[in-house]
C-alpha cells in the first residue's frame, strides 16, 4: 500500500452493508417497533396512571413472584445445568445419547403440555405430590410449584450453552494445574469455572429471561391465586380479558424495562468475566 492512501480492510466474506441493513431491519420489525407500540399504548394512561396501575398490591405481588421465582429457578438451573452438561461432556455411559436428547424436550413440548404434566405429578394426589404433601411441602398451587415449572423450562438453556464451552476446555490445562499442586476443588474453582463463566452466565440469563416471560407451563401448576401464586404474564392476560388494555400494556411496559435492565447488567458482567478474550 502506498503511504498516505488508505483502503478499507476487506474480509474474506464481504457484505458489511447488506448484513447490517438486514440486522437493523429485523431488530426494528421484530423487536423495537412492537415494543415501542407497547409504550405508546401505555402512554395513554400518563405517568401517574401507569404508576397507580403497577403499584397496587396485587400487581406488586405478581412482580415479586415472577422475578423472584425466575431468579431462584435460574440459580438452581445454573448449578444443575452445569452438572448435567459436565456429565454429558466428560463421561461415557450407556444411554448417553438418549439423555442428551431428553434435555431438549422442554424446548420442543408445547408449554401447556408441560404445565399439565407437572401439575398432575405435583398435585396432592399426584405421584410426587402424594409423597410431599404429608411432609408439609405442597408444591402444586404454591410459589414453589411456580419455581419448579420455571426450572423445568429453563434447564436446556444452561445445558446447551455450557456444553460447547466445556468441550472446548483443554484437558492439558487441568493437568497443568494438578502438576502445580492444585487439588480437585481448586482446579474446579480456579481453572474450570472461571474459563466457562461467560457461557454459564449466558445460559443462566437465557433461562432467567425465558422464565420471566413463561406462561403456559406455569398457569396450571400455580393455581393463579391473586396475591399468592399469580405471575405477571397471567395478570396481563387477566387485564386483557377485562378489556383493560391500558392497564395490561402498563404492566407490560414496566416488565419490559425491568427485564431489559437485568439483561443489560448481565451482559456487562459477561464482558467483564470474558475480558481475557481481548486481543485474541
Amino acid at each position: 500500500m502506498k503511504p498516505g492512501r488508505t483502503r478499507r480492510r476487506v474480509g474474506v466474506l464481504p457484505g458489511f452493508g447488506p448484513t447490517l441493513g438486514i440486522t437493523v431491519f429485523m431488530v426494528s420489525v421484530v423487536v423495537v417497533i412492537p415494543l415501542t407500540g407497547l409504550f405508546v399504548r401505555s402512554a395513554g394512561l400518563g405517568f401517574g396512571g401507569v404508576w397507580e396501575t403497577v403499584t397496587t398490591s396485587r400487581v406488586l405481588a405478581a412482580f415479586r413472584l415472577s422475578f423472584g421465582a425466575s431468579l431462584i429457578a435460574a440459580a438452581i438451573n445454573a448449578v444443575v445445568g452445569f452438572l448435567v452438561a459436565w456429565t454429558l461432556v466428560r463421561y461415557e455411559f450407556p444411554g448417553k445419547r438418549i439423555v442428551d436428547a431428553l434435555v431438549d424436550l422442554p424446548f420442543a413440548l408445547p408449554t401447556a403440555v408441560s404445565g399439565i404434566a407437572l401439575t398432575a405429578l405435583f398435585a396432592p394426589q399426584g405421584w410426587v405430590g402424594r409423597l410431599l404433601a404429608p411432609l408439609g411441602l405442597p408444591v402444586a398451587f404454591t410459589p414453589l410449584g411456580v419455581t419448579v415449572a420455571l426450572i423445568f423450562i429453563g434447564l436446556p438453556f444452561v445445558v446447551r450453552t455450557l456444553q460447547p464451552a466445556l468441550m472446548d476446555l483443554d484437558a492439558e490445562v487441568e493437568e497443568a494445574a494438578a502438576v502445580l499442586g492444585a487439588g480437585r476443588l481448586q482446579i474446579l474453582g480456579r481453572v474450570i469455572l472461571p474459563t466457562v463463566l461467560p457461557a454459564l452466565l449466558t445460559g443462566t440469563t437465557l433461562a432467567f429471561a425465558r422464565a420471566v416471560g413463561e406462561y403456559g407451563s406455569v398457569v396450571f401448576i400455580s393455581g393463579n391465586m391473586p396475591h399468592k401464586t399469580e405471575i405477571v404474564p397471567l395478570l396481563i392476560v387477566a387485564k386483557l380479558e377485562q378489556y383493560d388494555y391500558a392497564g395490561a400494556t402498563a404492566i407490560g411496559a414496566v416488565m419490559l424495562v425491568l427485564s431489559f435492565a437485568i439483561l443489560l447488567a448481565v451482559n456487562l458482567l459477561q464482558g467483564w468475566t470474558g475480558r481475557y478474550r481481548e486481543g485474541n
Binding site: D170, E172, V173, E175, A176, A177, A178, V179, L180, G181, A182, G183, Q186, R190, V191, P194, T195, L197, R275, Y276, R277, E278, G279, N280
Partner: protein, 361 residues
C-alpha cells in the same frame, strides 16, 4: 534429585506404548528422550510426572531412590511444560506464574509480597517482566512457552519435565529457545528431561540422549556417542541422513556395491549385512583412488548452502547422496555429468538377519 524408572510397561488397549523400559537420570543432568511419534517417549515422561500410570504391577518410578507411586501428581514436586503451553487463559501472565504458589495450603503459602517478588524474579529471568499484566491470548507462541516455563519453575521443582517444549514454534524461535533452555539449565541445575523428535534439538541441548523406538530404548549415551557410535540401525537412520547398501561380511572384509573394503570394527560379523555411509563421509575424486571405490556419475549439484550436496548415480543404477565442502567442489570442478569415484572414509555395518526398522529418515 535423581530420577529412576524401572521396568515400566504401558499398554493402551492393544497398543504397547512402553515395553519394559528402564532409565536413570542423574541429579542435575539434562536428558533428552528422542524418537519418532509413537515411540513412547511422551508416555514415559507422563508416567514420571504421575500424569499417567504404568500398567498394574509393572515397574517403579523413584525420585532420589524413593518410590513415588504413592504420591499423586500434585505431590510429586515436578515442573511440567506442555507442548501446547496449557496456560490458564483467564489469568494474566503474573497470575499464571503465581498459580502454583497460590494454591498451596495456607500454612505453606508465601505471603503476598513474597509471591510478588518471586514471580517478578521469574518473569525477569524469562524476559517477560514487562508483559505481566497481559493475558496469554495476547502473547506470541515463544512468549507463551516462556510463561509456561516460568510457571513450572515457580514452585521450585526438584525435577523439570518438558514435553516437546518447542514443537509448536517456528524454526527460528525454536533455535533461540533451545540455546536459552541450555543456558537456563546451566544456571539452575535442576534435573531435567525433555522429549523431542528433533535430533538436532536433542544433540545440541542435552547432556545425555535416550533414543527410543516402538516402546523400547535403542541406545542411551552422550550426544557424541549416539551420533558417532550408533548401537543399532534405527539410531543410525534416525540421527541423520544415510546411504544404505546390501552387502556381505566375510573374514573381516565387507563387500557391497562393486567394492570390497576392510570392515574394521565390524569384522566380527559374518554373512549378509547392511552397510551405511553418511553423505558427508564420502571421499570424492576424479581419478581412481588407490583403494577400492564406487564409480558414479554426478546427476545434480546443489551448491546453495554451507555444504554442497551431490546426487550421484552408480553404475548399477543406485542413487547416492554426498556432501562436500564448497572448496572441494571448486578444486574438482564438478558439474552434472562428471564421472567420479567415491569411497567411504567411514562406514557402519549391521547384520542383516533382522528386518530393517521402518521408522527413521
Amino acid at each position: 534429585m535423581s530420577i529412576e524408572a524401572r521396568h515400566i510397561t504401558k499398554t493402551f488397549g492393544a497398543f504397547r506404548a512402553l515395553d519394559d523400559v528402564s532409565l536413570t537420570v542423574p541429579t542435575g543432568r539434562l536428558m533428552a528422550l528422542l524418537g519418532p511419534s509413537g515411540s513412547g517417549k511422551t508416555t514415559l515422561l507422563r508416567i514420571i510426572a504421575g500424569l499417567e500410570q504404568a500398567d498394574h504391577g509393572s515397574g517403579q518410578v523413584l525420585f532420589d531412590d524413593a518410590d513415588v507411586a504413592v504420591r499423586p501428581v500434585r505431590r510429586r514436586g515436578v515442573g511440567f511444560v506442555f507442548q501446547h503451553y496449557a496456560l490458564f487463559r483467564h489469568l494474566t501472565v503474573f497470575d499464571n506464574v503465581a498459580f502454583g504458589l497460590q494454591v498451596r495450603p495456607r500454612k505453606e503459602r508465601p505471603d503476598k509480597e513474597e509471591i510478588r517478588r518471586r514471580v517478578g524474579d521469574l518473569l525477569r529471568m524469562v524476559q517477560l517482566d514487562t508483559l505481566a499484566d497481559r493475558y496469554p491470548g495476547q502473547l506470541s507462541g515463544g512468549q507463551r512457552q516462556r510463561v509456561a516455563l516460568a510457571r513450572a519453575l515457580a514452585v521450585e521443582p526438584q525435577v523439570l519435565l518438558l514435553d516437546e517444549p518447542f514443537g509448536a514454534l517456528d524454526a527460528k524461535v525454536r533455535k533461540e529457545l533451545r540455546v536459552w533452555l541450555r543456558r537456563l539449565h546451566d544456571e539452575l541445575h535442576v534435573t531435567s528431561v525433555f522429549v523431542t523428535h528433533d535430533q538436532d534439538e536433542a544433540l545440541e541441548v542435552a547432556d545425555r540422549v535416550v533414543v527410543m523406538n516402538e516402546g523400547r530404548i535403542e541406545q542411551e549415551g552422550t550426544p557424541d556417542e549416539v551420533f558417532h557410535h550408533p548401537a543399532t540401525e534405527f539410531v543410525m537412520r534416525f540421527l541423520g541422513e544415510v546411504n544404505q547398501f546390501h552387502g556381505r561380511v566375510d573374514a573381516g572384509r565387507v563387500a557391497f556395491a562393486d567394492v570390497e573394503l576392510d570392515a574394521g570394527d565390524h569384522g566380527r560379523l559374518a554373512g549378509p549385512a547392511r552397510v551405511f555411509v553418511r553423505p558427508h563421509e564420502w571421499d570424492v575424486s576424479l581419478a581412481p583412488p588407490p583403494q577400492a571405490a564406487i564409480r558414479a556419475v554426478v546427476k545434480r549439484v546443489q551448491s546453495a548452502g554451507p555444504v554442497v550436496r551431490l546426487e550421484l548415480r552408480t553404475a548399477d543404477g543406485a542413487l547416492l547422496n554426498a556432501e562436500l565442502p564448497q572448496e572441494t567442489l571448486e578444486q574438482l570442478g564438478l558439474a552434472a555429468g562428471s564421472e567420479v569415484h567415491v569411497t567411504p572414509r567411514r562406514l557402519r555395518v549391521f547384520a542383516a538377519d533382522r528386518l530393517p526398522p521402518t521408522a527413521g529418515d
